[in-house]
């Protein structure tokens, strides 16, 4: 009894300390007054919003060295890999996108806040900003934009989140969302059942969106409004055509509609298996249903919000920039970057992987079509790309070609940039083969690469116990997570 009380007290202390830590600004790009992050500040502002923002900016004298800054960005990259995404091998395109961001930043006085854009290989329309000022934009997004002005609008919106210091407010939210992560793991596990392949892929797609919503910044309405309005200022000041803001928001509206339709027409039904029940002692059906229900609810909200955001942008432009120059859209220069010698074949390979994914999603003969498409994606310079490798792993696994699947899994891991799912699968394999030393090495690597993810702790405890090592440190970390289900699993692992 006394032990239980002590445990609870310890738990409360740790959660309290995490809460306090989470609400503080983060070191990387700090230096703004905390009021900026609240959201909806643009609502009552007279005149241009950027003027109010610049007045509130408190320049941080202790800026990071470039090495420290890169280390901070690397942490963000680790975070997206934790969210089962990767960075694309498109250095020239990424450099161009960063140049567009630089021209937006140059419209600000001084050199206030740095940020870096990474291109991810995903086909979905998505862009997000993480804690240390990294902006991630998918190849699918770049493909669906029509000109540099739309790219500038999108980047300006994401960069506005950085400028407005929105990330600090979300830190704690991210820390408390591990439950969603379990929903995703479960959905992925259940997808390995004997269901039809296309159905499995659809379930995985929805599971990925659930994770995205859970793990990546989901700003509140006020924050989105502020970012839109500040983005308009940045776009106009950088001599881009600000109408690209509404054009870009129309694309957001379409994307949300697309996801809504997909989720609505592919209801996720989960069935517990004996193995899942013993491993995760929670009602997974309820958890998964809640996760998907929450996704549907968020998509409904996003769809309505997308229309309201367009109206708000139009009104602001009319009010503050009625007589602005309306330059021609920079279409040719934008498209030319996809045709560059180094970029074109790589983009083509990624698009081939997208088509493979597409075939898996929507085609009865998907597996047959996907295999050669993905093979094409793996040729040439993309041979060791973790995104394409993991897709091929999925295809080979579905085809029951275990050896070929294993080759792809190993090669994905060897890239050094694989998503966390790759590591999870390898750990699982080692544990099944009772190769605890190898499992330990991988788990330790995951601990470093992915910023000490809490969900690896049950396996870590189990492996350390098998190797006769101390587990108390990991048990304490489990308690610190404040996640009741995780604590249960850690307890189970320590007793096993």
């Amino acid at each position: 009894m006394r032990e239980k009380v002590t445990l609870r007290l310890l738990c409360c202390c740790v959660i309290a300390s995490l809460t306090l830590h989470g609400c503080q600004g983060t070191g990387g790009i700090g230096g703004f007054s905390s009021g900026l992050s609240a959201g909806n500040r643009s609502e009552g502002v007279q005149g241009k919003f950027i003027d109010a923002v610049l007045t509130d900016l408190n320049v941080d004298d202790e800026s990071l060295s470039s090495a420290e800054q890169q280390a901070a960005w690397d942490k963000d990259v680790g975070y997206i890999r934790y969210g089962n995404k990767t960075v694309a091998n498109l250095p020239e395109l990424q450099s161009y996108v960063n140049n567009v961001l630089a021209s937006l930043r140059s419209s600000l006085p001084g050199n206030l806040v740095v940020a870096k854009v990474y291109v991810t290989p995903q086909k979905d329309f998505e862009a997000y900003t993480l804690e240390h000022g990294s902006i991630f934009i998918s190849l699918g997004t770049l493909q669906s934009l029509d000109n540099e002005d739309e790219l500038a609008a999108l980047l300006a919106h994401e960069y506005a989140h950085v400028l407005l210091n929105h990330h600090s407010k979300d830190t704690f939210e991210i820390l408390t969302r591990y439950g969603m992560r379990y929903a995703n793991i479960y959905l992925q596990a259940s997808a390995n059942s004997s269901k039809a392949q296309e159905k499995r892929m659809r379930t995985l797609q929805i599971a990925n969106w659930v994770t995205d919503k859970a793990l990546f910044p989901n700003w509140n309405k006020g924050q989105e409004n502020d970012a839109d309005i500040l983005a308009v200022d940045l776009v106009v000041q950088s001599n881009y055509n600000a109408d690209a803001m509404t054009a870009m928001l129309k694309k957001v509206e379409l994307t949300v509609l697309e996801k809504k339709a997909f989720v609505g027409q592919n209801p996720v039904k989960v069935t517990k298996t004996a193995k899942d029940q013993s491993k995760l002692n929670i009602d997974l059906d309820v958890l998964a249903a809640n996760a998907v229900g929450s996704l549907e609810h968020q998509l409904d909200r996003d769809y309505e919000t997308a229309k309201v955001r367009q109206k708000r942008v139009r009104d602001y432009l009319k009010q503050e920039y009625k007589d602005r120059p309306r330059p021609e859209y920079r279409t040719a220069v934008y498209l030319a970057h996809f045709q560059e010698q180094a970029t074109k074949p790589r983009v083509s390979q990624y698009l081939s992987a997208h088509k493979a994914e597409q075939a898996l999603l929507l085609d009865n003969q998907g597996l047959k079509k996907a295999a050669p498409l993905c093979q094409r994606a793996l040729g040439g310079s993309l041979g060791e790309d973790p995104y394409a490798r993991m897709l091929m792993y999925y295809i080979r696994n579905s085809q029951k070609h275990a050896d070929k699947a294993q080759i792809n899994l190993d090669k994905a891991y060897a890239t050094g940039g694989a998503p966390m799912y790759t590591y999870e699968l390898l750990v699982e394999q080692h544990m099944q083969r009772k190769q605890f030393e190898q499992a330990k090495v991988l788990l330790e690597e995951m601990d470093t690469e992915f910023g000490q993810p809490a969900e690896i702790l049950p396996n870590m405890i189990s492996v350390q116990k098998q190797l006769g090592n101390f587990t108390s440190m990991y048990l304490l970390r489990c308690l610190a997570s404040g996640d009741v289900e995780l604590i249960k699993q850690c307890n189970l692992a320590s007793k096993s």
Binding site: K123, D124, F125, G140, Q143, S144, D146, Q205, N241, D243, A244, T246, A247, K250, K251, L254, T255, L257, E258, K259, A261, F262, G264, Q265, N266, K307, Q310, K311, V313, R314, L317, K318, K322, D323, R326, P327, E328, Y329, T331, H354, E357, Q358, L361, L362, D363, N364
Partner: protein, 127 residues
């Protein structure tokens, strides 16, 4: 005899009108199918103005020309050539994309071929 000539002339005239109307309506640039606001940003003689939507005419409105800075030219209700900002309207092209996005998942197995090629992430792309 005169009746036959009249019939031929009438048929030719109807055919001509039909073709020109179709060409105008389907110039490849599409039509405006809805307004996104109560008033619309327009450009006349290089000047920006804001017009109530009823001044533009009945929907759908054929797009006659497109420029590179987000404006399309139409003939307004009182037959004035006016440039309309695309930020304020939805074109049938955009509406079709929305419809595709909505309908792709309703597709049954027999029409999968038709919808299957434009799935999630691709159906709404422009290129």
């Amino acid at each position: 005899m005169f009746g036959k000539q009249l019939y031929i002339a009438f048929t030719v005239l109807v055919g001509f009108l039909f073709v020109t109307q179709s060409l105008q309506a389907d110039s490849g640039l599409g039509r405006i199918v809805s307004f996104d606001d109560e008033e619309v940003e327009v450009r006349i003689n290089g000047e920006i103005d804001y017009w109530p939507v009823d001044r533009l005419g009945q929907l759908p409105i054929a797009i006659l020309e497109k420029d590179s800075s987000n404006f399309v030219r139409i003939d307004s209700a009182d037959n004035v050539a006016v440039w309309v900002s695309l930020s304020y309207v939805t074109t049938d092209h955009q509406a079709a994309l929305k419809k595709n996005c909505q309908s792709q998942q309703i597709a049954r197995s027999e029409d999968k071929q038709q919808f299957g090629v434009r799935g999630i992430g691709e159906s709404c792309e422009k290129k």
